[in-house]
């Protein structure tokens, strides 16, 4: 055990990780607890979007909470600022900082830093700061808000984030990025020797019941080919799906289905509705099945039953947990080259198909369905194993150890 007191701060709880950011954060906390003597985690989060959390987490309330519901795409900024500006949050953070007295504070994403920096200054505390980025947030926020139709707010929020991202990159004792591209961007913003710790995945085995459920689905629906896309309703996920596969699915054979797993189902379910009188919206469901949110066991059962895992990622920073999950699953993968950022070494694995235009992506999916499955060599198996968290987060752990 390395004797260090580490406080990790995030803007969402990790009691029941669902989306990629939560999974990464949960993996970091779990790994740190195996390596460092004292590790604590606190989330300052909007309770309207996360219902499952620990007692030590801080759900924002009152005006701050209202702000997060009024402006759902900027909840992370609001929660980060609340560390200093919301008296209730500030009081609990002050107590935590002054009683725990961490040697190191790791901010997951830049947002907690917004309130943490002025609070530390006021408390005259000087722990080491670790910048643990998942994306280049100022770019990501600009994309998300602009695509959601908030052009003015996008610019304002992006400028604010860029200011703090630059400040943090300049002043942090360690900066961690999830891809070499992000690391270069952080360096551009002022980070000294940022390390790269790509996203990884934990190995899971689906129960027999979970596998049976999907076998039954295949039999009942007379479906012989399944391509699964696992994703949250995070805008880059559906942008990517629409930019590659699209909303017209007549190219899919009648015995094939695209399965949407996770809250991305909600997006399509709510958007592709009959009342809009668009043929592509109603026929989408002739070949796509919204499996919805599901337990990890059910999800791994679905992945086990799938022929192809889809990675139609075209934008968004960071590296994708989905990519790691797909690699570890051993299934055929149809992906954009963008989805393999920081997993470039894995692109040559057998059963990996890469296409970057909508036409090529759709054609490749059909080709992948029919292509014979190729077995990985021992070396390739070993390489695939390296997508697990303990390997991926190693550069981060080494960096923190050295502080």
């Amino acid at each position: 055990m390395v004797k260090k007191k580490i406080l990790i701060i995030g803007v969402y709880p990790i009691k029941r990780p669902q989306h990629g950011g939560q999974k990464r954060l949960a993996a970091i906390v779990k790994l740190y607890k195996q390596i460092f003597s004292e590790v604590r985690f606190v989330a300052i989060f909007p309770p309207d979007y996360y219902q499952v959390y620990d007692r030590s987490d801080i759900a924002v309330k009152g005006i701050t909470r209202k702000k997060t519901t009024d402006s759902p795409y900027t909840g992370d900024i609001i929660c980060g600022l609340a560390i200093h500006d919301d008296p209730r949050v500030r009081k609990r953070m002050e107590k935590l900082l002054t009683t725990f007295k961490p040697d190191i504070i790791q901010c997951e994403q830049v947002f907690p830093y917004f309130g943490l920096k002025p609070l530390l200054e006021e408390l005259d505390m000087h722990p080491k700061i670790v910048q643990s980025s998942q994306n280049i947030e100022y770019i990501q926020k600009l994309e998300i808000l602009s695509n959601a139709g908030y052009a003015d707010e996008a610019k304002e929020a992006s400028e604010l984030i860029k200011k703090w991202e630059s400040d943090m990159s300049t002043h942090a004792d360690l900066s961690v990025a999830v891809s070499p591209e992000d690391a270069a961007e952080l360096a551009e913003l002022g980070a000294k020797h940022p390390v790269v710790a790509p996203n990884g995945i934990a190995k899971h085995h689906a129960s027999q019941a979970a596998r049976d459920r999907w076998t039954q689905f295949r039999e009942q629906e007379r479906v012989t080919k399944i391509a699964t896309f696992v994703g949250s309703a995070h805008p880059p996920n559906w942008f990517g799906f629409l930019a590659t596969i699209g909303d017209r699915v007549g190219f899919m054979p009648s015995d094939a289905r695209i399965m949407l797993a996770g809250s991305i189902s909600d997006y399509f379910h709510d958007t592709f509705v009959e009342k809009k009188l668009q043929p592509e919206y109603v026929t989408f469901w002739n070949r796509v099945h919204a499996a919805g949110r599901m337990s990890d066991d059910a999800l791994y059962g679905l992945i086990d039953s799938s022929d192809v895992i889809l990675l139609p990622i075209t934008e968004g920073g960071g590296s994708n947990l989905k990519t790691a999950e797909a690699i570890l699953s051993g299934k055929k993968i149809v992906a954009t080259s963008y989805a393999f950022r920081s997993f470039e070494d894995y692109m040559d694995l057998p059963n990996v198909y890469v296409a970057d235009t909508p036409e090529a992506f759709r054609e490749t999916l059909l080709k992948a369905f029919d292509a014979p499955f190729k077995k990985r060599t021992k070396e390739q198996e070993a390489l695939a194993e390296k997508v697990q968290w303990e390997y991926c987060l190693q550069p981060m752990v080494e960096g923190v150890k050295a502080l």
């Binding site: 017209r248 007549g250 190219f251 009648s254 043929p279």
Partner: protein, 437 residues
């Protein structure tokens, strides 16, 4: 090894007790001509069990012929009452609702619907022997078989899904007749509940069929556009021409005193928003405003989608006291109307074919029709067209043919030139396509 068999879907007409109209006529005329051909059999779809069943076509023929004989003898066509039609509609909606929707209904509503459904089933019993309930066990089509669907399979929500599942196992071939894609491209002209099932149905028609027979170049174009839009690789599509050599019946004058030979213009077709009766109303109004003396307007057709307003105007506008609306009518009455009208007018916004135009021409009568979709294919330059959105264009054509010599000249040209298409010809086209498979 067994020879490949052609299976003909007669689901539509196996439950129909009245006269055949539209698609039913196509199903019947094609099925009838396949009778006696080697390796041909008939089937119906059972939407309750989602299964296909072999079915006797002889029963259908007997029933249709009996109905025709009754009609010859002067019996009125069987016509269900409004309450029965309402119940049938409720029953259909309920039966075709997905299980999830049925589950969401409160127990009280479900009980009510079930009660209505029960009554509907009782009252739906047609006067002729019904053949709706399959009497044979569920069957599977053979691997080399061809399934020919000429009717309204979209009426059964689960038809294509059942066919898809069977086809995956058996790899038989499917040929379907494409009537039109109007509910997809012009959803505002239909009841909104039709949009989703029809769009999804036609998606599978494109995706699952090995060959399609469009009833017009326009419908073929629409189907190809739809397939292209949905990224469906289109199957081969041929165009067939529907027959319009209708059986001759004795004309019977409808019981309306004011109707006299040559004193009216006829507009046939369901009174629904797509048929664009509003344009006729407005054209007549403009004519009245210009001081023109226009012949009586006779509108024939059942009431359909979204025409409450125009029917209200026709019925309550004092200027239209002379107009005649005939809802249900017998073939004999229709014959009299065609024989004795001055000309016919067909202002429909969009059609898959446009049978009333062909019917008019087959009776030697000029039809002034819309210039969209398939309507220009029927007679080309032989008749005259107007934009379905151009009231004055329609009025000016009406005015032109109020001149008796001009109309007589046109009629003579039609009678000399127009050749009704025999159903035998349609059948030959269908059979040739099927045999090519």
């Amino acid at each position: 090894m067994s020879a490949k068999k052609v299976w003909i879907d007669i689901s539509d007409i196996s439950v129909w007790a009245g006269y055949h109209t539209g698609t039913q006529r196509v199903v019947y005329q094609i099925a009838k001509r396949y009778r006696g051909q080697p390796n041909v059999d008939y089937f119906v779809f059972n939407p309750r069990s989602n299964t296909f069943h072999q079915h006797s076509f002889d029963e259908v023929i007997q029933r249709v012929e009996a109905a025709a004989q009754e009609a010859e003898a002067g019996a009125p066509p069987p016509k269900p009452s409004k309450s029965i039609r309402a119940r049938v509609m409720v029953a259909r909606v309920y039966q075709n609702s997905p299980e999830a929707v049925r589950k969401r209904l409160t127990p009280e509503r479900r009980t009510l619907i079930k009660r209505v459904l029960k009554k509907a089933k009782r009252t739906m019993r047609p006067p002729q022997p019904a053949v709706a309930t399959p009497t044979t066990p569920a069957m599977r089509f053979g691997a080399d078989d061809i399934v020919l669907i000429t009717g309204k399979a979209w009426d059964y929500r689960s038809f294509m899904e059942a066919l898809r599942k069977d086809k995956l196992d058996q790899h038989f071939k499917i040929i379907q007749v494409v009537y039109d894609l109007i509910p997809i491209f012009f959803p505002h002209l239909f009841g909104l509940p039709l949009f989703k099932p029809y769009t999804q149905h036609m998606f599978e028609v494109g995706a699952l069929s090995d060959g399609l027979l469009a009833i017009s170049e326009s419908s073929k174009r629409d189907m190809l556009n739809y397939c292209k839009g949905m990224l469906i690789p289109p199957p081969p599509i041929d165009v067939i021409r529907l027959g319009d050599d209708f059986a001759k019946v004795e004309p019977v004058k409808p019981g309306i005193k004011s109707l006299k030979p040559g004193n009216f213009i006829l507009c046939c077709g369901t009174v629904e928003v797509r048929k664009n009766h509003q344009l006729l109303y407005t054209a007549y109004k403009e004519g009245f405003r210009r001081g023109l003396k226009l012949p009586k307007l006779v509108v024939v057709g059942g009431k359909g989608w979204y025409t409450g307003d125009v029917m209200y105007q026709f019925t309550h506008d004092p200027a239209f006291r002379d107009m005649v609306y005939i809802g249900g009518r017998s073939d004999q009455e229709l014959e009299w109307l065609y024989q004795n009208c001055l000309l016919t007018v067909y202002p429909s916004v969009y059609e898959g074919w446009g049978l009333p135009i062909a019917e008019s021409l087959a009776h030697g009568k000029l039809c002034l029709a819309s210039d969209t979709s398939s309507m220009t294919e029927i007679a080309g330059d032989l008749i005259e067209y107007f934009s379905p959105y151009d009231t004055v264009g329609c009025l000016e054509l009406l005015q032109k043919y109020m001149d008796k010599p001009t109309l007589a000249k046109k009629e003579a040209q039609i009678q000399k030139t127009y050749q009704p298409v025999a159903w035998d010809h349609t059948f030959t086209q269908v059979k040739k396509f099927v045999d090519k498979m």
